[in-house]
């Protein structure tokens, strides 16, 4: 069987039997049927157009699973929020709104740059395509750097997920309460007045009015809520898995940028750019929901 031999053609549309055949690739191959086919066209597709649409639908189906993956975590968030509304109010104060908003804008900008990169690919502007892809990687890197500083700042304050959350001294943990080895002392009137309420279970061990600063750097009502770990479990898992998606996106877009530099993509074949772009927009959309739910309310 003769191996298909590449035959360069001057115009990508030269061989098109009909209008709207889509992209052929710059190189035509003679297939086993003896006909000329675009080099990028897999033999099980009728046309490059069908191949592109199929790849895109496949990407959308993957994105559906991504939405449902994060959906499960959003449901966990919603249920714990319905159970412990005060916990979420107290915890959101610990998250830095300014950095969160900055990161939102960074991700929105990276979405724009990816959308523009696809436009550049469609217009055969390779230089712009490569530049915008690298810009997207840089913006994603900026997002991760901010995330790094947010995380380390929380670790310094003893804000860890679940049972590892470092409560203020004397505040019993949920485990101790359930085992019966510690009890909550009901908040006194003086406590409630001093802290403006919302701190029902915080008046432990007679430290009346000392919550503002008890000398351990534990400022904030969240350090007196035995359930603080619940919120931060949800916070670290959701933002952590989102961050993982950002890192994976950075790698994917970096690979695209390198390949684009080598001229792999053009207006007739840019399927990977389109699909990675779709993935990146979903990562952005998830952050659009995470940011207000975690940082603002």
């Amino acid at each position: 069987m003769a191996t298909p031999s590449p035959i360069p053609v001057d115009s990508p549309h030269a061989d098109a039997g009909h209008e709207g055949d889509g992209h052929h690739g710059d190189v035509m191959l003679r297939g086993y049927d003896g006909e000329l086919h675009p080099a990028n066209l897999q033999h099980h597709f009728v046309s490059s157009e069908q191949q592109f649409e199929s790849a895109k639908l496949g990407m959308w189906l993957f994105l559906v699973t991504e939405i449902l993956l994060f959906g499960g975590m959003f449901v966990a968030y919603a249920i714990y929020r319905a159970w412990y509304p005060d916990l979420f109010d107290q915890a959101s104060v610990e998250l830095d709104t300014v950095w969160g908003a900055f990161n939102t804008l960074v991700l929105l900008a990276s979405s724009l740059s990816v959308a523009w990169a696809i436009r550049a690919a469609q217009m055969d502007n390779r230089k712009l395509l490569v530049g915008l892809l690298w810009l997207t990687v840089a913006l994603a890197g900026g997002f991760m750097v901010v995330k790094y500083f947010e995380y380390t700042h929380k670790f310094d304050k003893g804000i860890f997920p679940g049972q590892y959350f470092e409560l203020a001294e004397g505040v019993p943990t949920v485990a101790e309460l359930q085992a019966g080895t510690a009890t909550l002392e009901p908040a006194t009137e003086a406590d409630a007045d001093h802290s403006g309420g919302g701190e029902a279970a915080a008046g432990a061990h007679g430290e009346a009015g000392a919550h503002a600063d008890d000398g351990h750097g534990k400022k904030g009502e969240i350090f007196y809520n035995p359930r603080a770990g619940i919120f931060f479990s949800i916070y670290y898992v959701m933002t952590g898995i989102h961050g993982l998606h950002v890192v994976i996106g950075m790698i994917a877009i970096g690979v695209l940028a390198v390949k684009a530099q080598r001229g792999r993509y053009s207006s007739v074949y840019y399927t990977p750019v389109e699909n990675v772009g779709l993935y990146w927009h979903v990562v952005d959309i998830i952050w659009i929901f995470l940011f207000p739910l975690m940082y603002l309310i």
């Binding site: 649409e53 639908l57 189906l61 449901v75 919603a78 979405s111 959308a115 959309i285 739910l293």
Partner: protein
């Protein structure tokens, strides 16, 4: 819209070339909505902390979700091109959102009403304990009001100067004096 790509963008496929103007307008809307949601969030926090006023109260979550949903719409419709794709891709996306809503709604129908039907087991143990402690403190506070008046075991010498301080002497008088109200309130000890 710019229809410059290949001159055959009427097939509804993935080759829509988004106009520069659309990209700029979309990102502008997204930035404005981000500023709006941050502004409302900070406003709410400011009033809660300084004036103890909940300006949105229970509506803060729906408002935030509405703004986020609007932002997601613009990203999906323009950046992701769903507005031009339509068809199967939109069906897949809409399907995921619909199933997410079902997931959330039915889980909430379970978890949101657990305490409504006297399923105390669903109430966290420390909340029960806090309630019991509160109840105990309350009954302790009210206890003096309900304290029983101590029984008189010796007659008041001012009112009954001739009475003996020894309670046993009273018993002797009851037994000796037949006019004692034995018919109305018989001494059970005497009968039995």
């Amino acid at each position: 819209m710019a229809h410059a790509a290949h001159g055959h963008d009427d097939h509804g496929g993935g080759h829509h070339l988004i106009a520069k103007r659309d990209l700029v307008v979309t990102i502008s809307i997204l930035i404005v909505l981000t500023a709006l949601t941050v502004g409302l969030g900070l406003l709410e926090r400011y009033y809660a902390e300084n004036h103890d006023i909940e300006i949105f109260g229970p509506f803060s979550v729906p408002i935030a979700l509405l703004i986020a949903g609007t932002k997601a719409y613009f990203v999906a419709a323009y950046f992701m091109g769903l507005k031009y794709d339509g068809g199967t891709n939109l069906l897949a996306f809409a399907g995921s959102v619909i199933f997410l809503v079902i997931f959330l709604a039915f889980t909430y129908l379970d978890t949101g009403f657990r305490d409504t039907f006297e399923e105390r087991a669903a109430v966290p143990v420390d909340l029960l304990e806090a309630n019991e402690l509160e109840a105990a403190a309350e009954s302790e506070r009210l206890a003096p009001a309900f304290e029983a008046v101590p029984l008189v075991d010796a007659p008041d010498t001012e009112l009954f100067p001739s009475a003996s301080a020894d309670p046993a002497s009273g018993d002797a008088m009851d037994d000796a004096d037949g006019s004692a109200p034995a018919d109305t309130e018989a001494d059970p000890a005497a009968d039995n």
